[in-house]
């Protein structure tokens, strides 16, 4: 302790203060930055439309309303066969060789349809290493073609069609309004993520409109799912457009410091504003003589 405290330093004080400011700015970045990778969602399995047996998931994907656009994925016997092979190799150990799930480990996938499969696989949340861990956003393990194959195979067991969203048809103001009402409680109003107790909520910086639509309708992991009574297709298009907008929101004020609000603002006030002024005070506080 004593050696450390009384150790001499050859770095001039002003440089040391400057260094401290830079380090603090780094701390802002580490503490406040939203983590695109730090996503979570969707625990284990995906829900089944008509509850299928004892190992069904607790909630099922909302079907699109009649007349709403749906996302169609490629389908063919060959694709299903490829999907079967991939499924048996990568998914069956938890979800069962016949999609029936494993009680206490993973839910049945019968009747979940295409949407959840596309969501979990395209966001890299599945497959999981441990059934109890929270699925996090990650680079997708499967190629687009492999995902399509798995979708074709799982969707062949039935389920609602996958929803979709077209940001071009959405209205930004409506998107903000609906996002605040339904989504901001967990995802933060500029979609920077947050938490519900003991489940981190992902930011939506990397979410595509298709993934937004799928997540809204199915409610991955502990997220609620939203039907057309709460969020109709126009609202969904608008939310998708708003989520895209939050990647580059209107930052008329300058450097956005992650659009998080007061935490990074406080760090900047102390470690850039006040620190710079303390350096000035340090410079003028003593006579030059």
């Amino acid at each position: 302790m004593r050696r450390w405290l009384t150790r001499r330093s050859r770095i001039p004080a002003v440089l040391r203060l400057t260094l401290a400011v830079i380090l603090a700015a780094g701390a802002v970045a580490v503490l406040a930055a939203p983590s695109s990778e730090g996503q979570t969602s969707s625990g284990a399995g995906v829900p089944g439309g008509p509850p299928a047996g004892v190992n069904a998931p607790s909630k099922s994907p909302e079907p699109p309303a009649p007349g709403d656009p749906v996302k169609t994925f490629p389908d063919s016997p060959a694709l299903r066969a490829q999907g079967y092979t991939l499924y048996q190799a990568g998914c069956s150990s938890c979800h069962g060789i016949a999609l029936q799930g494993t009680p206490g480990v993973a839910p049945s996938l019968r009747g979940v349809g295409a949407g959840p499969v596309d969501f979990y696989l395209s966001t890299g949340r599945m497959p999981l290493e441990q059934p109890r861990e929270e699925p996090q956003r990650a680079p997708a393990l499967y190629t687009r073609g492999q995902i399509d194959a798995l979708i074709a195979y799982v969707a062949s067991f039935g389920g609602p069609p996958a929803p979709t969203a077209d940001p071009a048809k959405g209205n930004l103001a409506l998107g903000l309004h609906e996002f605040t009402l339904h989504c901001a409680g967990c995802h933060q109003v500029v979609a920077r993520g947050g938490l519900t107790v003991n489940v981190p909520v992902p930011d939506l910086l990397a979410a595509t409109p298709q993934q937004v639509a799928e997540a809204v309708r199915m409610g991955p992991y502990v997220m609620p799912h939203f039907g057309t009574r709460q969020i109709d297709q126009h609202d969904l298009d608008s939310i998708a457009r708003y989520v895209l907008w939050t990647r580059h929101p209107v930052n008329a004020g300058g450097w956005a410091i992650y659009n998080l609000g007061p935490i990074p603002e406080g760090i900047v006030a102390w470690f850039m504003g006040l620190a710079a002024l303390v350096i000035v005070a340090r410079l003028i506080g003593e006579r030059l003589a």
């Binding site: 993520g193 004020g253 450097w255 935490i263």
Partner: protein
């Protein structure tokens, strides 16, 4: 050239005579021009706060010309696309308009907000300097109390300021403030109804009242207290660190004119410069992104400005104790974190000079400051207390830590419920032992080194070039001024 100079000098003399004929203030002006400021950078922290206040008044006046404290619901039809057709209060619309439709409006708003953040930060740093150097001792105890009062007012003032806007964040902050007001034992509901003019979100008179508080009552009080603070400093002169020729009875430093005046003006300009640079380049409180407030709306990660952060930390850390007998709630839970905690912190700080006198029996006047290491117990108590408050402050952002690092939020809260007591005790002992060892070696922890500079010649002989610059300060050797026995001093 010389002619010009002589003319100017004559003019100046004539002006001075004109003034003297009317005021006769020559003695006071001469005294002021040669008023001595001791040289140490840490004496400028309070000045930073003062200059931030000046920036606040200037920018705030501009903002007040545009702000409308109205709660009637209107539909937005301004240039900002994301709020088109949205229902919002008149107050929120006026601030969105100020940000997007008034030239330089956003610059002033942001500079004002940064100035508020830096203002309170500078006061806190100034308070730390005062505490750890013992500058609150007689004769400066009254001025210390004024300073603490100003800190409380500054926090209230900041909260009132960002609550005026009626955006989603400020609405949530006011909801919590309402919860804390209601939690005051016995009188809470009456007080809450008095302030809000009814149940939350309050009657139409609430925002106009808040505006009067923010632009008139608190700033006016602050201005009066600042004046008192400065007058008392001038009367007593600054305290100073011990050093060659520096005694209890004198003050050594730079006279106001000319060098100090220029440096001080430089600091004022630097404060304004930094705040306007931040205001122009770093976004603060982008209210258009938060959207308008309604009581049934909220968002994740909502936080208050930093100087309220210690309260949100305390509110989150507190277990759910809420003793009640039947329908009589003795102490509603938000009272602990939102009212009892800050009251306790301020009571301790107000009582500290008396507590210290009680234990040291030192009732003397002190104009020479202590180096923190020379008072290991005081420094250790201060560090422990500060760390206690800072831990609670930091707990206010554990949710962000959970988001970043995935350390279970509930586990963090449970850990800190114990850690908030254990860690300050550890810090007390570490600080005290560090102070003692520093005092023994008498070196500066960051800059001073002791030794002799030598050169070894080719023949192995050693030439002494000189000693290290002796920057350690000698201790006061004389008795402090005013050596009157303790009892007659109270």
């Amino acid at each position: 050239m010389n002619v010009l100079q002589r003319t100017l000098e004559r003019r100046f003399l004539r002006g001075t005579r004109w003034l003297e004929q009317r005021l006769g203030a020559a003695k006071g002006i001469k005294w002021l021009l040669s008023y001595v400021f001791p040289d140490h950078w840490s004496f400028l922290l309070g000045e930073i706060a003062l200059y931030a206040f000046i920036v606040l008044v200037g920018t705030g006046t501009f903002l007040a010309l545009y702000y409308i404290p109205g709660d009637s619901q209107v539909i937005y039809h301004g240039p900002y696309a994301l709020l088109q057709g949205e229902q919002m209060s008149e107050a929120y619309r006026s601030v969105v308009d100020l940000s997007f439709s008034v030239p330089a409006g956003l610059l002033f708003r942001q500079a004002h907000h940064w100035a508020a953040d830096v203002f309170v930060a500078a006061i806190v740093l100034h308070l730390c300097r005062i505490f750890f150097t013992g500058a609150y001792r007689k004769p400066r105890d009254v001025n210390y109390f004024i300073g603490l009062t100003m800190l409380m007012l500054a926090i209230l003032e900041g909260f009132a300021g960002y609550s005026l806007i009626d955006d989603l964040l400020s609405g949530m902050g006011l909801a919590i403030a309402y919860g804390v007001a209601l939690s005051l034992p016995g009188i809470g509901a009456q007080l809450g109804y008095l302030v809000w003019g009814g149940p939350f979100p309050g009657s139409s008179s609430f925002l106009p009242r808040l505006e009067i508080v923010h632009v008139f009552l608190i700033p006016g009080t602050l201005a009066v207290l600042i004046t008192l603070h400065l007058v008392m400093i001038m009367r007593q002169h600054h305290s100073q660190f011990p050093g060659p020729g520096r005694r209890e009875r004198n003050v050594v430093g730079t006279p106001l004119w000319p060098a100090y005046a220029l440096r001080s003006i430089g600091l004022l300009l630097a404060v304004a410069g930094v705040l306007f640079l931040l205001g122009g380049l770093v976004q603060i409180n982008p209210i258009w992104q938060w959207g308008p407030f309604h009581p049934y709306l909220s968002e994740n990660g909502a936080q208050p400005d930093w100087y309220i952060g210690w309260l949100i930390g305390a509110l989150r850390l507190m277990p759910n104790w809420e003793p009640a007998i039947g329908n009589y709630t003795l102490i509603p839970n938000p009272f602990w974190g939102g009212a009892a905690f800050p009251l306790f912190v301020f009571i301790v700080m107000f009582a500290w000079p008396a507590i210290e006198r009680r234990f040291t029996r030192d009732h003397l006047r002190h104009d020479l400051l202590d180096r923190p290491r020379d008072r290991p117990t005081r420094t250790a108590i201060g560090a422990a207390f500060l760390s206690w408050v800072m831990i609670i402050f930091a707990v206010g952002s554990t949710d962000r830590l959970f988001f970043r690092l995935h350390i279970s939020y509930t586990a963090q809260i449970h850990f800190w419920r114990a850690g908030v007591w254990v860690l300050p005790i550890l810090i007390f002992f570490i600080t005290r032992s560090a102070c003692r060892s520093l005092r023994r070696t008498d070196t500066h922890p960051m800059r001073a080194w002791q030794g002799t500079v030598v050169r070894r010649g080719p023949d192995g002989s050693i030439t002494r070039l000189g000693d290290s610059a002796d920057r350690t300060q000698s201790r006061p050797s004389e008795e402090p001024v005013g050596t009157v026995p303790a009892e007659s001093e109270r």
